[in-house]
C-alpha cells in the first residue's frame, strides 16, 4: 500500500505538477492588511472597461467590490479623485534575480550554456532575492512577474512566476498556484552558442531536429510511466518504477498540458515551423516571446490562441530582429482573439511597461487602429496573466481576484504618470510619498555613506 502510494506520487511527479507544488513550494503568504477603500478614481479594469469616478474596496487580500457595496468598520479610505487605478502590472519575461544588478560576472546566473537541452534546470534556483530591480519594478506598478532562463538553449529550463514582494528566499516570493513555464528558444542564439563549439545545433534545421528528438524521448518517458502504472494497477508486485529524469519530467509536463511553453522566437517563418512542431507532438505553445515578426502572422496566432509577448520598439540588434516594427503589438492585438502582451526582458523596461504600452498604442492609432486605454491596459495586465496561467487569480479588477492594484497619479499611458500606491494581495507595499513604504534591498542598504550633501 505504501509502495503504491509512493508510486502514485512518483507518477504524478512525471507529469511535472507535483514538482511545481511539492518540490520547492511557495512559502509566500500575503501580508495582513486592513480593508482599503479607494474612492472616486478612473478605473481601467483590465477586462476592457473604463469606469469613471468609481470606488473600489480591497478586503482580506481580495477585490471585494467595484462601484458600490458594504464598507466594513476599520476600513482605510483613500481619496483617489483625479487618479487612475489599474490591476497590478504583470511582466511575463523578466530576468530579475537571475541577471541581477549589479551585473557582475558572479551574477550571470540566467543561461546554463553547457548543453542545448537543459529542461532540467529551474530558473528559480538562480534567483537572488536581493536584486534591487525588484523594488524598482514595484515602483513601476509591477505586482507579478515570470523569471525565465535565458535563450542560449533550445530547451532553457523552467520559468517561475513570482509575487513582487521582497523575501529572504525566492520561495517566499513564489506565486502560489502558478504553473511553471518552459523557456524554449528558436533561431540565432542556440545555433550560435553551440555552433561555435562544433556541436548540434549549428543551424536552424539542427534546432528543429533537436527539438523533435527530445519530444520523442518525452513521449517514450510518458509511455514508460504509463506501462508501470498499468502493471501496478494489474497487481504486479514486482513492477519497478522508471528512474526519474528531470529533463524528461519537464518535457512530459508540457505534453500533458501542465507546464506552459514560452517560446523565444523572432521570425515569422520560424514561428510557423514551431506551430507545426507543436501539432506533430500534440502540445500547445502558450506564448511566443520577442516575436518581432509576429505582425506577419497575427491571424494565425489569434486562430491558434497563442499570445505574443512583445517589445514596443526593439529591433535591429541582430539579424533576426531586422524586421521589427512599432506596430507589432497593435497588429497582433487586431484580429478577434488576438493576445498581445508588452514584455520587458529588461530591468529598465519592467519599470515602464505602461510607457512601452503607450508607444504601441500611439503607433497603432497612427496606423488607423482605434485603441482605447481600457483596451491597451490588457497588454500589461490580463493578457499577461493569461499567458502565465494565473488569469483566474489576478490581472483584472474583478471581485474575488487578488487585490493586486495600482493607483496612478494620472492616465498611466502618459509619460508624466507615476505609480502612487501599489497593493499586492491588499497590502500597501509601495507608496511614492512615504519612504517607509518603499523597499530597499540588502544590497542597497548603507551604500554611499561617505557622500556629504
Amino acid at each position: 500500500m505504501l509502495k503504491q502510494a509512493c508510486a502514485a506520487l512518483l507518477l504524478l511527479g512525471a507529469s511535472g505538477t507535483l514538482q511545481a507544488e511539492s518540490a520547492f513550494p511557495s512559502t509566500y503568504t500575503p501580508l495582513i492588511s486592513a480593508p482599503t477603500l479607494l474612492r472616486n478614481a478612473t478605473l481601467l479594469t483590465g477586462d476592457g472597461q473604463r469606469l469613471e469616478q468609481t470606488d473600489l474596496l480591497l478586503e482580506n487580500g481580495r477585490i471585494a467590490w467595484v462601484g458600490n457595496g458594504d464598507v466594513p468598520p476599520g476600513t482605510r479610505e483613500i481619496d483617489a479623485s483625479g487618479r487612475w487605478i489599474t490591476p497590478g502590472l504583470i511582466d511575463v519575461h523578466s530576468h530579475l534575480g537571475v541577471y541581477p544588478s549589479p551585473s557582475v560576472d558572479a551574477h550571470q546566473d540566467g543561461n546554463e550554456m553547457s548543453d542545448p537541452v537543459t529542461a532540467n534546470i529551474w530558473a528559480e534556483h538562480s534567483i537572488w532575492p536581493q536584486d534591487p530591480g525588484f523594488g524598482k519594478a514595484l515602483a513601476g506598478g509591477v505586482t507579478a512577474l515570470q523569471i525565465l532562463p535565458g535563450s542560449a538553449n533550445l530547451f532553457g529550463g523552467r520559468g517561475v512566476t513570482l509575487k513582487n514582494v521582497y523575501s529572504t528566499s525566492y520561495q517566499g516570493m513564489k506565486f502560489p498556484g502558478a504553473p511553471h513555464g518552459l523557456k524554449m528558444a528558436c533561431g540565432e542564439n542556440p545555433k550560435r552558442v553551440y555552433g561555435q563549439r562544433n556541436k548540434l545545433p549549428s543551424t536552424r534545421m539542427g534546432n528543429v531536429a533537436h527539438y523533435r528528438t527530445e519530444w520523442i524521448a518525452a513521449q517514450d518517458y510518458i509511455d514508460r510511466w504509463a506501462r508501470y502504472e498499468a502493471q501496478l494497477a494489474a497487481g504486479d508486485e514486482e513492477a519497478t518504477a522508471p528512474l526519474r529524469d528531470l529533463k524528461l519530467e519537464t518535457l512530459a509536463g508540457v505534453l500533458q498540458g501542465e507546464i506552459i511553453v514560452h517560446m523565444h522566437c523572432y521570425r515569422a517563418d520560424e514561428m510557423m515551423t514551431i506551430l507545426a512542431l507543436a501539432e506533430e507532438f500534440e502540445y500547445r505553445i502558450g506564448t511566443f516571446h520577442h516575436a518581432v515578426e509576429a505582425y506577419k502572422i497575427a491571424d494565425e496566432l489569434a486562430q491558434q490562441q497563442v499570445c505574443g509577448a512583445l517589445w514596443a520598439d526593439w529591433w535591429g540588434f541582430k539579424m533576426e530582429a531586422y524586421d521589427g516594427i512599432q506596430e507589432n503589438i497593435a497588429l497582433v492585438d487586431r484580429p478577434p482573439g488576438g493576445c498581445a502582451i508588452v514584455h520587458s526582458d529588461s530591468p529598465e523596461g519592467i519599470q515602464r511597461l505602461n510607457q512601452e504600452a503607450a508607444k504601441a498604442m500611439g503607433k497603432g492609432r497612427r496606423a488607423g487602429m482605434d485603441i482605447a486605454p481600457e483596451h491597451a491596459i490588457a497588454w500589461i495586465t490580463s493578457n499577461a496573466a493569461r499567458s502565465l496561467g494565473i488569469e483566474h487569480m489576478t490581472g483584472s479588477l474583478t471581485p474575488g481576484k487578488m487585490a493586486d492594484v495600482v493607483v496612478w497619479s494620472d492616465n498611466p499611458f502618459s509619460i508624466y504618470s507615476k505609480a502612487d500606491l501599489v497593493f499586492i494581495d491588499g497590502a500597501l507595499l509601495y507608496d511614492r510619498k512615504d519612504p517607509a513604504r518603499q523597499p530597499v534591498s540588502d544590497f542597497e542598504l548603507g551604500q554611499l555613506q561617505e557622500v556629504q550633501p
Partner: protein
C-alpha cells in the same frame, strides 16, 4: 505602388523641390523656440533657402510657397539622437556591418586618429527610421574597441547627405569599470596611460621608447589639447572629479557621458562648466560605479547649473531619446528643460548650428501630433534644411505591406 501612395510620393517630391528652391510657410504652430522668446502660441514660421526667415503672426508668403497648417500643434527644433553609430552599424551583431570601433590595428595600441566619419553611410536603414521620429542630429561615436581611447567622431545631420557633418570633431575616452579590461585592469592605469599618451603627443619619442601612439596619433591627440571636445564615459563620482582635473591640466573641453553619479559632484561640474550626457532611465546600480544612480539625476544637475543632454538609447533605439527626456521631465527636470536637453544644449555642447528656432537658424524642425514628450504622440512632419522629409522608412514599408488583412497576390508584390 498603389494610387494613394503614388499621390503622397508625388506631393512629397513637389514639396521638397518647392521648399528647397523657394519658401515654406508653417501656419499656426505652438513654437518651442528654445530661445529667450520661449514658447509662442499660434505662430507662423517662414522658411526660405533652408533657413528660418521669420517667426511671427499672420506672415505673408510668396504665392509659390508651400504651406503647412500646424493647427495649433507643437513645433520644436529637430531633436538630438545622442551618441550613436547611425550610418556606421547596420546590425549590431552582424560584425561586418559594424564600423564604429577599431580593435587592434597592429601596435602601438592607442589610435586617437581613428575617425569614424569616413565610414558613414547615409543610406543605412536606421537613419530614416530615426529621422521620421523627429530626430535631426546625432553625434557619431567611436566606441572603445582596443583601448580606452575610442577615436574620433562628429555630429551628423540625418538628412541623408554623404557629407552632412557639422560641429567640431570629438574624441572619445572610456573610463571606469566598463573599460577596466582596456588598460591593465585598474582605473589608476587608465590615468597612467592617458598621461603617458598626452606626454607622447607633446614630444617626439626617442628610438627604442615603448610608445602608445603613432605619429598621426600624437598629432591627433595634440590637436585636442587646444580646447578640443573630449567625451569621457564615466559614471563614478570620483572618476568624474578626475576627469575635471585631467581636462583642466591639458586644456581639454570635457563632456561626461553616462554620469550616473554626476549629481553627487554637480557643483564641481557646474564650476568647471563640464556638461553631462546622461541616460535618465538609469536608476539601478548596474555596476559598482553606479551605486548612486537615481531618477532625478538630470533634475539635480540642471538645478546646480550643469548643462544637461541625453544619450544612452543606442543606435537602433535612438528614437527612445524622447522617452529618456520625458522620464527626466517627469522626475523634476520639467518639460522645457527636458526639451532643451534634446535640442539647444547638445548644439551648444558640440558646436553645431541648430537646436533653436529663431531667424537665421537652420530650418531643422519637427511638427508633432501633440506634446513631443508624450509617447502616444508622434512626429507628423520632419523638416531638415527647409526640406519636408519623406515620412517613410524600411519599417513603415513593412507596416504598409502587412497592414491590409488580405492580399490577392503574395505580400512580396505589395511595394
Amino acid at each position: 505602388m498603389n494610387g494613394f501612395k503614388w499621390i503622397v510620393a508625388t506631393l512629397l517630391l513637389c514639396c521638397q523641390a518647392a521648399a528647397a528652391g523657394n519658401t515654406l510657410l508653417i501656419r499656426n504652430a505652438l513654437v518651442h523656440t528654445m530661445t529667450d522668446a520661449g514658447t509662442l502660441p499660434a505662430t507662423d514660421i517662414l522658411i526660405r533657402d533652408g533657413r528660418i526667415a521669420e517667426l511671427g503672426n499672420h506672415l505673408r508668403a510668396p504665392a509659390d510657397s508651400t504651406e503647412l497648417d500646424a493647427a495649433g500643434r507643437p513645433v520644436t527644433p529637430a531633436l538630438f539622437a545622442g551618441i550613436t553609430a547611425l550610418g556606421l552599424n547596420e546590425i549590431d551583431m552582424v560584425w561586418p556591418s559594424v564600423d564604429s570601433a577599431v580593435t587592434q590595428v597592429g601596435s602601438p595600441p592607442m589610435r586617437p586618429e581613428f575617425n569614424v566619419v569616413s565610414a558613414y553611410n547615409p543610406h543605412s536603414s536606421p537613419i530614416p527610421i530615426t529621422r521620421i521620429e523627429g530626430f535631426g542630429y546625432s553625434l557619431l561615436g567611436a566606441m572603445a574597441g582596443g583601448s580606452i581611447i575610442g577615436g574620433q567622431g562628429r555630429t551628423v545631420v540625418l538628412d541623408g547627405g554623404y557629407r552632412s557633418f557639422v560641429g567640431e570633431p570629438v574624441l572619445f575616452i572610456a573610463l571606469g569599470e566598463s573599460a577596466s579590461t582596456l588598460a591593465g585592469g585598474s582605473r589608476a592605469a587608465q590615468w597612467m596611460v592617458l598621461e603617458q599618451a598626452i606626454a607622447e603627443s607633446e614630444s617626439t619619442p626617442r628610438h627604442g621608447d615603448h610608445t602608445l601612439l603613432t605619429r598621426e596619433g600624437r598629432a591627433a591627440l595634440h590637436a585636442f589639447q587646444r580646447s578640443g571636445t573630449v567625451v569621457f564615459s564615466a559614471h563614478r563620482a570620483s572618476d568624474i572629479l578626475q576627469v575635471i582635473a585631467f581636462a583642466e591640466r591639458h586644456g581639454l573641453r570635457a563632456v561626461i557621458e553616462g554620469g550616473a553619479e554626476a549629481w553627487m559632484v554637480a557643483d564641481a561640474l557646474a564650476e568647471a562648466q563640464v556638461p553631462v550626457l546622461l541616460d535618465p532611465l538609469q536608476n539601478l546600480p548596474d555596476s559598482f560605479d553606479m551605486l548612486g544612480a537615481r531618477l532625478d539625476n538630470a533634475a539635480r544637475l540642471h538645478a546646480a547649473g550643469v548643462t544637461v543632454s541625453f544619450s544612452g538609447a543606442g543606435t537602433h533605439h535612438a528614437r527612445k531619446q524622447r522617452q529618456l527626456a520625458g522620464v527626466a521631465a517627469a522626475n523634476g527636470l520639467g518639460p522645457e528643460a527636458a526639451l532643451a536637453a534634446l535640442t539647444r544644449n547638445p548644439a551648444e555642447i558640440f558646436g553645431f548650428p541648430g537646436g533653436r528656432l529663431e531667424r537665421g537658424a537652420p530650418a531643422d524642425l519637427v511638427l508633432w501630433s501633440g506634446d513631443p514628450l508624450e509617447l502616444v504622440e508622434s512626429a507628423e512632419q520632419v523638416i531638415l534644411g527647409g526640406r519636408l522629409q519623406p515620412m517613410r522608412s524600411r519599417q513603415t514599408e513593412l507596416r504598409d505591406r502587412y497592414l491590409p488583412t488580405a492580399t490577392s497576390l503574395p505580400r512580396a508584390y505589395t511595394h
